[in-house]
């Protein structure tokens, strides 16, 4: 088979790349130039590639992976293999020259069973393979080379080693550590254990039989045990019954002694005892009662002697009644005395406070009529008002005096200021002279007018003056009348004043009118006048006016002085009236002093208060005197009682002190004593009566019991109490015997029921005899008991064992485990068997293969090796039996492969590879592909290799990839393709 051309549609770096192959072709390219890619493309075309690996070669530019390889086959001629990644999942289609299409299987047929792997191991080799060789261990080298000789690869040897290791790991016939050996150990152990368990389980049958034997035996023993126990019980009962039997016999014979004629009342003795016990206390009680009667009588006599006569007693009682009265009076007296003292003290205190020179004794005669209080108040009030009036008037008079002095002083002043009349006249002349000229006319008119007005005014004035006069007179009259009637002085004064006023004003008015008339009539007489200057006039006018003014003021003051005098006269009158009243009042006071001299010590203004104090004192004094009287009465009463009591005591001749209290106490205790004695006497006579009654009753009861006692004696047929008791004892004894016999019978019956004891009475065994039997039986029982417990223990042991066996899981578990371990062993054994078989198969195949091909391969190898080494070595010998791989040098000396240099081994390797390729290709002409296999060869060797290759290429296509230009350039017969050039 030959490759003629290839078209790479897309594969790795190659896209749309064409290449044609001649019989021998050297493809040169530097590293990374894509040599290997072409190599892999060829492999891909021939054997296909799984998708994943295919994907590795997808061109970087994208696009299809795939291409075509045209092949020339010896049988079918030329055909083209086409594989495309996208079509049929990379499966091949082959186109033959006759236009037929074939599938992958057809292609495989053409490849004659060569697979990728076998192809690679036989028809292609690379520098890498050489590297492997050099890494081999020396000792194995021969084997490895043989393997290469056989298969072209180093795998056989490696595999053999591996299989050996695995076998050793799994099993060694006499080993300990391998897995199967260990598993066997486990199994043996388990098996032994199982056997033991099995043996143990086998005892189950024995144990079951044993168990039933033991059960039988136990049953038998227990029966015997029960029997013996019964015997023992019987003997024990007999022993127990022995004393009882003796008693029985004794009682029986005893009973025979008593006759049958023993009459005796039922419970006779107790009944007698009862009667006696009842009788005895009665009798003793009787004796006591009698003794008491004597005692009581004696006592009575004594008491009666003590008792005094009745009269004395009654007198004492009346006296004692006075006792309370006496004490009450005494208390009353004390209280009265206290009261008197306190009252007296109180009054004396009051008198001192008043301090009016009154003594306590004076109070006896003191008396106040009903009106005295009012009189005293009246005097007090009048005196006060008169005094006040007096003072007021004096003050007024004083004031008026001062006013008058003042007015006189002023008048003197004014008189000094006044101008002399001549001067005034002179001045007036001046003025009038001046005015006369100017004013005559008007003055005349005016005077006329004035006269007219004056006349009118005068009428009016007269009228009013008259009116005031009349009205003042009237009012003055009225007031004086009222004053006289009511006796009010100041009204009289007012009326007097009014009168003065009315007359005064009328007279004053009159005078005025007359003056005015003079004035008015004088006016128009001023005709004569001198002419004077204006300034003089003015000055004169001022002087005149001043003068006029002083005159007027003087007039006024004079008026005032007049009125002042009038006023003073009035007050003097008033003063006289007041003095009169005062005198009257003083008279009244003097009268009072005479009647109540103590008033002298007191100012009239305090008289009303004094009256109240005095009145209270008087009433208190009255109370005081009453109490004094009461006291006297009480003292009389007390003395009376005292004398009466004293009299009584004197009569009785009691030697007690004179004190009334002691005497009264003595009387009282006398009465108490007497009373007590009489009570006791009564008590004792009562006791005596009761005693008598009781004695009668007792006697009756004693008789009843006596009668009963005699009835008992009759029944027992005896005459005395002594005999009665003797008979009673006999009866008791017989009864005891009977009871004891009965009791014994019951006890015996209890031990031996249904009268079984009766024969024993006639046939009594001795105690020692019975004791001996009992001991024997007890021993028997003990022995049996021991046997039973032993058997039980044994049975329990067996049963426990059986139970343990029955519940034991050990055997079962072991069984299952053993089964599993066995399974594990079988699994391991099978693994071992497979590996063992594989190894045997490998060895066998190797042997056969050697037989078949080794000779041929060695021939070829020798040939190539000879040429490669330049005839240095003649022959190569495959290992036979114990002889290892050897080469023979041209001098006939043989060397072991591990004695060769590394270069020589490389040459040997290449020779082997070429030889095997050549041998194999005789039946299967697949082209050789070498990928830089001779990288480390020197130029001499390269030439030799090239020679060989060129030779080979004549009948076997060789494709050589190299990066060594030396090789490429040395190729003479072989076509060389320069990938670099292509690329450039």
């Amino acid at each position: 088979m030959k490759f003629t051309k290839a078209y790479i549609h897309g594969f790795g770096k190659w896209v749309n790349f064409d290449i044609s192959f001649s019989d021998g072709i050297c493809i040169y390219g530097e590293n990374e130039s894509g040599k290997s890619t072409i190599y892999h493309f060829i492999l891909f075309m021939l054997f296909g590639l799984p998708p994943k690996q295919r994907e590795f070669y997808r061109p970087k530019s994208g696009g299809q992976i795939g291409g075509r390889l045209t092949v020339l086959d010896e049988k079918v001629g030329q055909f083209t293999i086409e594989r495309l990644d996208s079509l049929r999942n990379g499966a091949a289609i082959c186109y033959t020259s006759d236009g037929m299409e074939h599938d992958e299987d057809w292609l495989k047929e053409r490849l004659m069973g060569t697979t990728l792997e076998t192809y690679q191991s036989i028809f292609s080799f690379s520098a890498m393979d050489l590297n492997k060789i050099t890494n081999m261990k020396e000792a194995d080298l021969g084997e490895v080379l043989l393997g290469i000789g056989l298969t072209g690869s180093t795998e056989i040897h490696t595999l053999e080693k591996k299989l050996d290791n695995k076998l050793a790991e799994l099993f060694k016939p006499y080993g300990k550590k391998p897995m199967i050996n260990q598993q066997l150990d486990t199994l043996d152990k388990q098996f032994a254990l199982l056997q033991e368990y099995k043996k143990n389980e086998a005892t189950y049958r024995e144990k079951i039989i044993n168990e039933s034997h033991l059960e039988d035996r136990l049953c038998r023993l227990q029966e015997e045990f029960q029997d013996e126990k019964k015997n023992l019980l019987n003997v024990e009962k007999k022993i127990q019954a022995l004393p009882l039997l003796g008693e029985y016999i004794r009682y029986h014979s005893n009973l025979k002694k008593y006759g049958h004629n023993l009459e005796f009342p039922e419970h006779g003795e107790t009944r007698l005892e009862d009667i006696k016990s009842n009788l005895l206390p009665l009798q003793s009680e009787m004796a006591v009662l009698k003794g008491n009667v004597e005692k009581y009588q004696e006592k009575l006599e004594q008491l009666q002697n003590k008792l005094s006569n009745q009269e004395l007693y009654e007198e004492a009682q009346t006296l004692i009644k006075l006792k309370h009265e006496f004490y009450d009076n005494k208390k009353e007296l004390e209280r009265a005395e206290n009261h008197i003292d306190s009252k007296k003290m109180e009054m004396e205190l009051e008198l001192n406070r008043l301090n009016v020179g009154l003594t306590f004794e004076q109070l006896y005669r003191m008396n106040f009529p009903f009106h005295i209080e009012k009189t005293w108040i009246q005097i007090k009030n009048d005196e006060v008002s008169v005094t006040l009036e007096k003072e007021r008037i004096q003050a007024e008079v004083q004031q008026l005096k001062q006013e008058r002095n003042y007015l006189y002083n002023q008048l003197e002043e004014l008189e000094e200021q006044i101008l002399p009349d001549e001067k005034v006249f002179e001045l007036n002349e001046k003025i009038n002279g001046f005015h006369k000229h100017n004013v005559v006319r008007s003055l005349q008119n005016e005077a006329a007018q004035k006269q007219q007005n004056w006349r009118e005014n005068r009428v009016k004035k007269e009228k009013s003056m008259n009116f005031y006069l009349i009205s003042s007179l009237v009012i003055a009259v009225i007031f004086s009348i009222i004053g006289l009637v009511t006796d009010i002085r100041f009204l009289l004064d007012i009326s007097f004043l009014l009168l003065l006023f009315g007359v005064g004003q009328w007279m004053w008015g009159r005078k005025g009118l007359k003056e005015m008339e003079v004035v008015i009539q004088s006016e128009y007489q001023t005709d004569a006048f001198n002419v004077i200057s204006k300034e003089e006039v003015q000055d004169a006018e001022i002087q005149i006016s001043k003068h006029h003014k002083c005159v007027t003021d003087m007039e006024n003051i004079k008026e005032q002085l007049k009125s002042n005098d009038i006023k003073r006269l009035n007050y003097r009158d008033k003063m006289n009236v007041v003095e009169d009243r005062y005198e009257k009042i003083q008279q009244q006071i003097k009268e009072q002093y005479e009647i109540y001299p103590f008033l002298k010590h007191v100012d009239t203004s305090y008289w009303p208060e004094l009256f109240h104090a005095m009145k209270q004192l008087v009433s208190q004094f009255k109370e005081y005197t009453e109490v004094l009287e009461d006291k006297e009465k009480l003292q009389d009463k007390i003395t009376l009682v005292k004398s009466t009591v004293n009299e009584f005591v004197q009569e009785q001749n009691w030697e007690i002190g004179d004190l009334i209290e002691q005497q009264l106490g003595a009387i009282e205790s006398f009465i108490m004593k007497q009373h007590e004695i009489s009570q006791q006497i009564e008590q004792y006579s009562q006791l005596l009566k009761e005693n008598k009654k009781e004695q009668d009753e007792l006697l009756l009861r004693i008789k009843t019991y006596e009668r009963e006692k005699w009835i008992l004696f009759e029944l027992a047929q005896v005459e005395s109490e002594e005999l009665f008791y003797r008979k009673s004892d006999q009866v008791k004894e017989r009864k005891l015997n009977e009871e004891a016999l009965d009791n014994t019978c019951i006890q015996l019956e209890r031990l031996f029921p249904n009268g079984q004891w009766k024969p024993l009475v006639d046939n009594i065994q001795s105690e020692s005899e019975l004791e001996w039997i009992r001991n024997a039986t007890e021993n028997n029982i003990e022995e049996l008991h021991w046997k039973i417990s032993e058997s039980q223990k044994e049975l329990v042991t067996v049963q426990t064992q059986l139970e343990t066996m029955e519940s034991s899981e050990e055997y079962s578990n072991n069984l299952h485990q053993l089964e599993m371990e066995q399974e594990q062993l079988n699994k391991l054994a099978r693994e071992w068997a497979i590996i063992k078989t594989a190894k045997e198969l490998l060895i066998e195949t190797k042997r056969i293969y050697k037989e078949k091909h080794l000779h041929q391969v060695m021939e070829a190898t020798s040939n190539f090796f000879n040429r490669l080494t330049g005839n240095k070595y003649e022959r190569v010998f495959a290992p036979i039996n114990h002889r290892s791989f050897q080469v023979e040098a041209n001098n006939g000396i043989r060397y072991e492969v591990n004695e060769l240099s590394k270069g020589t081994i490389d040459q040997l390797y290449v020779s082997l590879r070429l030889a095997i390729g050549k041998t194999m290709s005789e039946s299967n002409h697949l082209p050789f592909i070498m990928d830089d296999a001779f990288l480390h060869f020197d130029s001499l060797r390269i030439k030799q290799v090239i020679n060989i290759l060129e030779d080979m290429s004549k009948f076997h296509q060789i494709i050589l990839f190299t990066c060594k230009d030396e090789i490429a350039l040395n190729m003479s017969e072989v076509e060389t393709v320069f990938l670099m050039g292509e690329k450039v």
Partner: protein, 406 residues
């Protein structure tokens, strides 16, 4: 109309170890050990619940070869429980628990009626005063009964309403099992029996409906061939009618699971696929021992060779065997799609071709005798069948090819 009801079971194989389990976690191991007993307890419970008249157990209650006292004690307890509920038991011994091989003299309570001889005999079942059924059967006295016992079965006293035959044996032409007490179906139908209760075959099968001829199968699967539900039949017979109900008693099931890993590129995917297959398998309910078959290509082969599959299964087992209703892959098998590689290689002149050719010629006998005839190992190892030999050879060949083609 009269009616009887009973439970028909056979092949209890109490306490007999499971086959083909090399290793299990402790808790699963304990459950395996207890499984047959639990199934027996369930049988008792069902009998009581259904208030049946009696229970038929047709042979192989336990294994004499690996006889454990525990098996018989537990059996006794079960019978005692049935007695408490007035349920009778009719039982015969088969080829595994034959009479002469029994070591342990365990006495069963008196409600248990045992066919004690190898000749066919019968017991009469009475309900109150009423005689209701005759039950016929025989026991194996020795390991094998090769006589045609079927001929001995004759109906006695036709007045009794029901006649039930029990037989531990197999159909004559059965090739899978050892043939004991052979019979043909037609022979069973000759006599007018109302029910044929069979034993010996572990796979449940109703051979005939009228009258019913029934293999109830065993009550608990014990190896990877005994898959699925296992149990007994609850049978109600009336004059005209027979009603059969299968009642599962198994505690643990054996279940095959197939997973195709052809499209898997890595172990993670494989793990997911296996998990998925286990989780989605409707047959898998309750405690299950899984027999896993993996299908795949060279990748799978690769994983197998490097023991990665084994590790993977261990990981999966760790996950699925924990909870109460555990699952456990106890066995796996790889099924590699054969590429034509062998065929191609065989033609080649090269070494691999020679390997294949040699493998075909090879005789295994001498090769493996080192171990298989080893003094200590021999007694524990199963004999290697021709099938085994073939498999070993194939695997050895594949091993070599895989290694050499690496």
């Amino acid at each position: 109309m009269q009616e009887i009801s009973f439970i028909h079971a056979a092949d209890l194989h109490l306490d007999s170890p499971f086959k083909g389990l090399a290793h299990t976690p402790d808790h699963i191991f304990q459950e395996i050990v207890e499984s047959t007993f639990l199934s027996l307890d369930k049988l008792v419970a069902i009998a009581i619940k259904k208030a049946v008249d009696f229970v038929l157990i047709v042979g192989d209650l336990f294994d004499n070869e690996k006889q454990s006292l525990k098996a018989q004690i537990r059996l006794r307890k079960a019978f005692e429980e049935l007695k408490r509920h007035n349920i009778e038991v009719y039982l015969s011994y088969g080829n595994h628990d034959f009479l002469n091989g029994n070591l342990h003299p365990v006495t069963y309570p008196d409600n248990v009626h045992i066919f004690g001889k190898e000749t066919v005999s019968h017991f009469t079942y009475k309900k109150g005063n009423e005689t209701l059924a005759n039950i016929y059967g025989f026991s194996y006295e020795n390991r094998a009964v090769t006589d045609r016992k079927v001929k001995e079965f004759k109906v006695i006293n036709h007045d009794i309403p029901f006649h039930i035959a029990t037989l531990h044996g197999s159909i004559q032409n059965n090739t899978e099992h050892d043939v004991y007490a052979p019979f043909q179906l037609s022979e069973l139908q000759k006599e007018p029996f109302d029910y044929w209760g069979l034993g010996h075959i572990h796979k449940r099968e109703v051979l005939k409906e009228n009258p019913p001829i029934v293999y109830p199968g065993n009550i608990q699967g014990r190896n990877r061939k005994e898959t699925g539900q296992k149990g007994c039949y609850h049978v109600v017979l009336s004059g005209t009618d027979s009603r059969l109900t299968f009642i599962p008693l198994h505690t643990i099931t054996f279940q095959p699971v197939q997973v195709d890993l052809s499209n898997c590129e890595n172990l993670h995917q494989a793990e997911d696929l296996i998990q998925e297959a286990i989780n989605n398998d409707r047959e898998i309910t309750g405690k299950t021992l899984i027999d896993l078959t993996l299908t795949g290509d060279s990748t799978l082969k690769q994983w197998e060779n490097t023991k990665q599959i084994e590790d993977l299964i261990e990981i999966i087992n760790e996950m699925i065997s924990r909870d109460g209703q555990w699952k456990y892959i106890f066995h796996f098998l790889t099924n590699i799609k054969k590429e034509k590689i062998d065929v191609d290689l065989k033609k080649g002149e090269h070494f691999l071709g020679e390997v294949i050719r040699q493998a075909e010629k090879m005789d295994l006998q001498g090769t493996i005798q080192d171990l298989y005839l080893h003094k200590r190992a021999r007694r524990y190892l199963q004999s290697v069948s021709s099938q085994d030999r073939h498999e070993i050879k194939e695997e050895a060949k594949e091993l070599l090819l895989n290694e050499l083609l690496k």
